[in-house]
């Protein structure tokens, strides 16, 4: 038995995650290595244009850290909710032929519950900007 893993004994599960650990180490090493290498070989000629943050190509207008309306939060939350719904629909659509009527009914129930939430948000005026 490998003594370096004695804390975990011979628990197979831990061994299964070893590739992930190796992968993480390699990812960090690659990123840090690239930065160090480019720092060593590149010419260094900074100017204000180069140092400014990239904002879709336009010159930045102001500081990004400002207060914005709470209405954005509601919109963002609703977007998140219904976006996740769509994410669930994709795998369902892919295996639809295999799961048949049961899968169809189940997804309809899922959508029905979300629909209640949608009607609720709509009637409560969460979708109105004013």
């Amino acid at each position: 038995m490998d003594t370096s893993l004695s804390l975990f004994g011979d628990y197979q599960v831990i061994h299964n995650y070893l590739p992930i650990l190796v992968f993480i180490i390699f990812a960090f090493a690659f990123a840090i290595g690239t930065l160090i290498f480019s720092y060593l070989v590149r010419p260094n000629k900074p100017d204000p244009e180069k140092l400014s943050p990239y904002e879709c190509g336009i010159p930045p207008m102001m500081d990004a850290r400002e207060r914005f309306s709470i209405r954005f939060f509601i919109i963002a939350m609703l977007f998140l909710l219904f976006d996740v719904e769509v994410v669930f629909l994709y795998p369902w659509a892919v295996v639809y032929n295999k799961i048949g009527l049961y899968g169809f009914v189940e997804m309809m129930l899922f959508i029905a519950i979300l629909l209640v939430g949608y009607i609720y948000a709509w009637r409560k005026g969460a979708l109105e900007w004013e």
Binding site: Q12, V116, I119
Partner: protein, 479 residues
């Protein structure tokens, strides 16, 4: 097998919650009463179906959910709590200006979470149930949007609740890392090997689970959020979470520790012994100093979690049945005591200090009599259910060989007598200085008080039947 039909009670509660949410959108003035009616009908219907599931012993969703007597007992308890909470809330939330349809919907959704806490047989199901109920109760705690105290309460509960969820989840992750599975049955199977009992990762996971559950049932030293949250929340919500959340967390706590982690008893019993002793002593002594009745009841709720821990430590047949018995009695008497507080409380947090109860008996003799009954039951005076429950717990501790802990528990109850009786003294031995209520006692609140009072007395006079049910519930755990 999925066996969706076994989950009919849960599905009814969920659909009721959605119907209430939709009904509230109707442009009709009388709809508020309708919402409560629909809510009560839904929970009572679910309660009847749940009772029909007694002795069924089935599994659903491929072993993620169990319909055994243990979960049926607890689900019936949660549905009773939910019904009583709705009855107590009808008048209160109208008076408080928070009569929104979401209120009932959230109470029902929290109950939905409670039910899965009792029936979940997979750590993931239990965690999901905990999140469902917590999210609903966080919102309920902050339901008085214009009161800074209510906001503070919701915020504190949310932060500490999220923190405790993290503990629980980390514990689950550790256990999963060792066992490779989150199902309670598989974990129990894993623990049947001798070597598994000494695995440090698994023990760390178990400790983290203990902390996570400790937060939710509010045992010292994980109780810090309780007084502030209980004080700031709307009183109906305080009653609901003091009773429901505590019982639901105990349900999952019991299933995980009594069934799955039973082979590790040698490790967790000494810890629980210490926690029980500290909880009883701390909860009862600090309760003496409280001036606000909701804070006092919060500390009393902490102390009562300590008594239940005593029975968990004892762990014998009587001990485990008395936990279920005590949780039922505790729910009824605590809902009753909070019910009186709810009726007497006025807008702007008036009538919430203990000295406000001065002379209540001369204006409202029935209300004071009910309050005295609930307080005496909480203190453990015969012939109430509280006495019988405590008697079972402490005799279980003695016969289990934990005489020291039983002595601490009895001493704690003696201290508790002081702060419970103080309210009775205020009610009966002083002259009234003011009018307490603006009108007569609201009908639905009175009905809830009558139900809880009858329950408290009946459980004190004829405890054998319920104790037998409790015994059958817990002895089938995990079969």
């Amino acid at each position: 097998m999925i066996n969706l039909s076994l989950l009919t009670p849960e599905i009814i509660v969920l659909i009721t919650a959605l119907i209430v949410l939709i009904l509230d959108l109707l442009p009709w003035r009388g709809r508020k009463v309708l919402l409560a009616t629909v809510g009560v009908l839904g929970t009572v219907g679910a309660l009847l179906i749940t009772m029909g599931q007694w002795d069924l012993r089935e599994e659903a969703f491929y072993g993620m959910v169990a319909i055994d007597n243990f979960s049926v007992y607890f689900k019936a308890l949660f549905l009773i709590i939910c019904t009583l909470t709705i009855l107590l809330s009808i008048n209160y939330i109208t008076r408080g200006g928070i009569d929104l349809g979401e209120y009932y919907s959230l109470v029902l959704l929290a109950t939905f979470g409670y039910m899965f806490m009792a029936s979940g047989t997979d750590l993931i199901t239990i965690f999901l149930a905990l999140e469902i109920l917590s999210l609903a109760v966080y919102i309920l705690a902050g339901f008085m949007r214009h009161s800074p105290k209510s906001n503070e309460s919701a915020f504190k509960y949310f932060l500490l609740g999220a923190f405790s969820s993290a503990f629980l989840l980390y514990g689950i992750a550790n256990i999963y890392g060792v066992v490779g599975n989150t199902n309670l049955k598989d974990i129990a199977q894993y623990l049947s090997q001798e070597a598994a009992l000494k695995n440090p990762l698994f023990l760390a996971g178990m400790g983290l689970l203990l902390v996570g559950f400790g937060f939710k049932v509010a045992i010292v030293p994980f109780h810090m959020w309780t007084p502030d949250v209980y004080e700031g929340s709307p009183t109906t919500v305080t009653a609901f979470m003091a009773v429901g959340t505590k019982a639901a967390s105990f349900a999952a706590f019991l299933r995980v520790f009594f069934y799955t982690l039973e082979p590790l008893k040698g490790q967790w019993v000494p810890v629980l012994w210490l926690l029980a002793a500290v909880t009883i002593i701390f909860g009862n002594t600090v309760a003496i100093y409280q001036k606000n009745i909701k804070r006092m009841l919060a500390y009393s709720a902490i102390a009562h979690a300590g008594y239940i821990l005593v029975a968990m430590v004892a762990g014998n047949d009587l001990g485990s049945s008395s936990i279920l018995y005590y949780l039922l009695v505790y729910s009824l008497m605590n809902l009753g005591a909070f019910g009186v507080v709810i009726i007497v409380e006025k807008k702007e947090e008036e009538n919430l200090t203990i000295s406000d109860y001065r002379g209540l008996a001369y204006k409202h003799p029935m209300l004071s009599a009910a309050m005295s009954l609930f307080l005496l039951s909480l203190a453990g005076i015969p012939p109430t259910g509280g006495f019988v429950g405590k008697f079972y717990i402490f005799s279980a501790a003695v016969s289990g060989g934990y005489v020291g802990l039983a002595i601490i528990g009895v001493l704690g109850s003696a201290i508790a007598l002081y702060y419970y009786l103080r309210i009775i003294v205020y009610m009966y031995m002083y002259d009234p200085e003011k009018e307490f209520l603006d009108g007569p006692v609201p009908f639905f609140s009175a009905a809830a008080l009558v139900i809880t009072a009858i329950g408290t007395i009946l459980l004190g006079i004829t405890p054998a039947r319920i104790l037998e049910l409790a015994h059958y519930s817990i002895s089938y755990l995990g079969h």
